[in-house]
């Protein structure tokens, strides 16, 4: 059925066809080849496609139709907070005065931009309960690394070079141990107990004078609130370590609890999750980091400051961990998040978490009739099901996920967290209506019935998508990573 292939843009190319409209070449033609030198003038042109503007538009419109976004349908991808991306945010971010400003313009010419950043920082400080926020990190993982580097700098400033370990729960997102390694630490795993929470006894076992920090998501990746947080904070702090908060799940507790009040020293936020910066097919995101006053000297450079209503950057930061990114962070995403926070206000943000949590608990209770619930207690904004029961019937969680595609849904996150067998991690978010949740639950229940009666229907899914399951083994064994004519 190769004729159903959607052509690559390179396959549409015809020599001498154009899709561009360049500014006039109004300066005298100067022969530049001599100046550049023969060896440095490119001999063979890069094979970019030669296509007309309509061809480009049809190509990408066609591709967009082969893609599922939140605007296309329900997207309960656990740990990713796939909520609605407000359109006004997009409009504000595209205002000329925000989108067409240069990072090296003098401060007095960009007071509007700096003022917005400052107010966003202040808002995030209040929301997280931390003393200072930097907007520099480009994404969550980048924020994790930034925060860990600050913790490292703090310990080293105290002459404490022995703190080489970062403790990470077995349920943690993969970026946590990866960031620990990149920051030069050794990642040490702490187990979860039968409640799905960090095992305090195991925590006491792994913590020692080499502990630099504990990285924790709260609620954790099982969607459960780490209710022993005060004791955990005490264990870590007593050992001289710092407590790091992974903000991936902040959507569960806005206005209900603040990481700073729980004893966290460093927090990163994912503005593209909780604060509606769109996910963009994988990015760009934004990963601001908040810290306590004790860690403030180590913030990445530069730090935005305000004096008598004038905003500027402070580069005189002798203890700073240095630069983590050129310029000042993903400003365009920060504008979107700011617009969202200003739209919701204190009351709205609290409702966000309230409804996100109600939605998750409602779905969990409706689904537990047919799916195993490894942790039977109230969840926060997401919950974990196990496909163990269906697996016994020969239907794997992967099959269930693929079958959901036939109903027009993006499946939940699957096989994560890794400490739950056949895991399905479902996060509905607050922006979905009850009708949507019910329809999804009905589909899941139907699939559970199919697993019993017509398992092949699930095993062979999807049946309605434009392509069927992909041969991922071939892709990895014989990688074809680019088009070649």
């Amino acid at each position: 059925m190769a004729n159903q292939d959607f052509p690559l843009i390179f396959e549409l190319s015809q020599e001498s066809r154009t899709g561009f409209s360049l500014p006039t070449m109004d300066t005298p033609e100067i022969d530049v080849d001599d100046m550049i030198g023969e060896a440095y003038v490119r001999k063979s042109e890069p094979e970019l496609p030669e296509v007309s503007e309509l061809q480009i538009m049809r190509h990408y419109t066609g591709l967009s139709k082969r893609n599922h976004g939140v605007d296309s349908g329900f997207y309960p991808l656990g740990s990713c907070t796939m909520k609605y991306n407000p359109k006004v945010n997009e409009d504000i971010a595209r205002l000329t005065g925000f989108s067409h400003i240069h990072p090296y313009q003098p401060a007095e010419t960009v007071q509007g931009a700096l003022g917005l950043m400052y107010d966003l920082q202040v808002s995030l400080e209040e929301i997280t309960g931390l003393d200072t926020v930097t907007l520099q990190p480009a994404a969550g993982a980048h924020g994790e690394w930034t925060g860990l580097m600050m913790i490292r700098a703090f310990h080293e400033a105290n002459g404490d070079f022995n703190r080489t370990k970062v403790i990470v729960p077995d349920s943690a997102h993969g970026t946590n141990p990866a960031s620990a390694t990149v920051a030069g630490f050794e990642a040490v795993t702490v187990k979860s107990d039968e409640r799905g929470l960090v095992d305090l006894e195991d925590l006491k076992r792994v913590v020692d004078d080499q502990t630099a920090a504990l990285m924790l998501t709260n609620p954790n990746t099982l969607g459960l609130f780490e209710q022993d947080i005060e004791e955990m904070a005490a264990i870590i702090h007593d050992a001289g370590g710092k407590l790091y908060y992974d903000g991936a799940n902040l959507n569960a507790i806005l206005g209900y609890a603040r990481p700073g009040d729980m004893g966290f020293d460093v927090v990163h936020l994912n503005l593209h999750k909780t604060f509606t910066g769109p996910h963009g097919g994988g990015g760009p995101g934004s990963g601001p980091v908040g810290v306590t006053a004790e860690l403030e000297p180590y913030l990445p450079k530069p730090v935005l400051k305000e004096e008598n209503g004038f905003y500027s950057f402070d580069y005189e930061r002798p203890k700073s961990i240095g630069r983590v990114k050129p310029y000042y962070g993903n400003f365009g995403i920060n504008v979107r998040a700011y617009t969202y926070i200003r739209t919701m206000g204190p009351e709205g943000l609290k409702k966000v978490s309230e409804y996100a949590v109600i939605n998750a608990n409602y779905m969990m209770r409706r689904l537990q009739a047919e799916y195993d619930l490894p942790f039977d207690r109230h969840c926060k904004h997401e919950f974990i099901l196990s496909g163990k029961r269906q697996k016994k019937l020969g239907v794997r969680t992967l099959d269930i996920a693929k079958r959901l595609l036939d109903f027009g849904y993006h499946p939940p996150t699957i096989y994560f967290p890794i400490n739950v067998e056949e895991a399905m991690m479902i996060e509905p978010t607050e922006t979905e209506s009850k009708e949507t949740l019910d329809a999804f639950v009905d589909a899941m229940l139907q699939i559970a019935e199919e697993a019993k009666n017509t398992p092949e229907k699930v095993q062979d899914a999807p049946h309605t998508t434009i392509v069927s399951r992909m041969d991922e083994t071939q892709a990895a064994r014989k990688p074809v990573l680019r088009y070649q004519s």
Binding site: A2, D5, F6, T27, E29, I36, A39, Y40, V41, P46, E47, E50, E53, M57, G62, L63, S64, R66, N67, H68, D71, Y84, V88, I92, R94, F98, H100, I101, P103, Y104, Q105, P106, G112, A138, G174, A178, T181, Y256, G281, G282, G283, P284, R323, Y328, I333, T343, M344, G345, P346, K350, N359, Y362, R366, H378, T431, I466, V467, S468, P479, R482
Partner: protein
């Protein structure tokens, strides 16, 4: 108060709480210990309706001098270029921008194919075998390249030219602290990396040599000579950071034997937006394919033999390999990579070359005019679209005066190098007209004279 993003009605809420088996939503939060529960209201601004908020933020945006209201000669890593209208129309398709990473290929073929095409275009531009789906920006991409070279060669020293972007250099210094790599900075001489010093510093402990092409001063580094020096050490790698637009006219680093080429695709369809988000790219050789940070899309077939695309070689990545991953990167800049792909498709083979050449020619004209006006252009080497002008004056003050004439002046090099105080780095792209260039030269001459 009602919120338009929150569809839950009172009736919904009651029914749902009944199903859950609780009286009120507070019970769902009861596991948050009393001592750490937040009481009262968050002290942030009260909500605003769409109309009033738009009005307020529009006014705020209008406070900023911008690249459309003024004529800009500011570059230094972020450039103001022609952006085809279709770019924003494509990236505004919400099937793209409201999607996440394409983990489910059956319903993500659009994004996957778009990334595959982006990877191909970057390979074509750089002359490399493999490119990934994007990085945060050129600076962090370069820092990741440095760490990759140290990991691959098991050597702990890198030689980094001081003629690279100073903020990329700063980011490298931050990134190498984790793996404990030593950075030796190589001076610049006459606007180019000092090759004698480079050759002297290169030894058996060297993991890689890092240069920018064209460099921070706009000068075209002699990559063939750099490669010859690097070749003295068998394992050492050559890493270049390149403005991809320049590669439309200049010989690509791949042809000079670069091992890793990174840079920022901001020049293709992405507005300056105060420095981010832009779009880092990362390209390398087949040999290093399995060490690449971030996501890669590969071609394969489905069960019915149809061509399709998937995320591949994922065993490199944090969600599989955890603490053994090649990088911690997760989110990238996919939507901006899409914007760049559209801009590159729009330019095509001919347009790219034309636009690239226009940058050189207009800058050459600017140089001619500056010299004719008696102004001193530092450095005699070949250039792309930036020049260093020795104004022997207070650059911030000169820029203040230019601003009054509606011009955003260049970058103050004294900020990063004392020897270059009084020097301004100016950029001239294809969108600057003869008239604008002439006026800029006249104003600079007047201020100088």
């Amino acid at each position: 108060m009602e919120f338009r993003y929150l569809p839950m009605t009172k009736a919904d809420k009651k029914e749902m709480l009944d199903t859950i088996g609780v009286q009120s939503s507070d019970e769902l939060f009861a596991d948050i210990p009393e001592a750490v529960r937040f009481k009262g209201d968050l002290n942030i601004k009260e909500p605003k309706n769409e109309f009033e908020l738009t009005k307020e933020l529009t006014r705020l945006a209008e406070q900023n001098v911008n690249l459309k209201s003024h004529t800009s000669f500011l570059g230094a890593g972020v450039y103001d270029h022609y952006i085809p209208s279709i770019v924003d129309h494509v990236i505004s398709r919400s099937e793209f921008y409201t999607a996440y990473t394409p983990y489910q290929p059956e319903i993500s073929q659009g994004e996957l194919q778009a990334i595959f095409e982006f990877q191909t275009m970057i390979c074509e531009l750089t002359g490399m075998d493999v490119a990934n789906s994007s990085m945060y920006d050129g600076g962090t991409a370069l820092a990741e390249a440095v760490n990759l070279s140290a990991g691959q060669t098991k050597k702990k020293k890198v030689l980094v030219s001081k003629a690279i972007h100073p903020e990329s250099l700063a980011v490298i210094h931050s990134y190498v602290k984790g793996p404990g790599v030593e950075v030796v900075e190589i001076d610049h001489k006459d606007g180019l990396t000092d090759l004698n010093q480079l050759a002297e510093e290169l030894d058996e402990n060297t993991a890689s040599v890092v240069v920018q092409y064209p460099n921070f001063f706009g000068q075209i580094e002699p990559l063939d000579e750099v490669r010859k020096i690097v070749d003295a050490e068998k394992k050492a790698m050559m890493i270049t950071s390149s403005n991809p637009l320049a590669l439309g006219y200049l010989t690509p680093p791949g042809e000079f034997g670069a091992d890793i080429v990174v840079g920022d695709a901001q020049v293709f369809g992405i507005p300056a937006q105060f420095g981010g988000p832009h779009c880092g790219y990362f390209a390398t050789t087949k040999k290093l394919m399995r060490k690449v940070p971030g996501r890669l899309v590969g071609e394969t077939v489905d069960e019915d033999g149809r061509r399709g695309f998937v995320l591949t070689l994922q065993a490199r990545e944090q969600h599989i390999r955890r603490d053994k991953a090649t990088s911690n990167i997760c989110s990238n800049q996919a939507l901006n990579a899409l914007a760049s792909s559209v801009a590159m498709s729009s330019l095509g083979k001919q347009g790219l070359k034309k636009m690239s050449k226009m940058n050189i020619q207009k800058t050459a004209y600017l140089k001619q005019q500056l010299q004719q006006a008696g102004l001193k252009v530092a450095f005699e080497g070949a250039f792309f679209n930036e020049l260093v002008v020795d104004l022997s004056g207070q650059i911030p003050e000169i820029n203040r005066m230019l601003l009054k004439k509606g011009i955003i002046g260049g970058y103050d090099l004294g900020e990063v190098d004392e020897q270059l105080s009084g020097h301004m780095l100016v950029a001239c792209t294809e969108i600057r007209t003869k008239e604008e260039i002439d006026q800029f030269v006249k104003e600079l001459g007047d201020l100088h004279g």
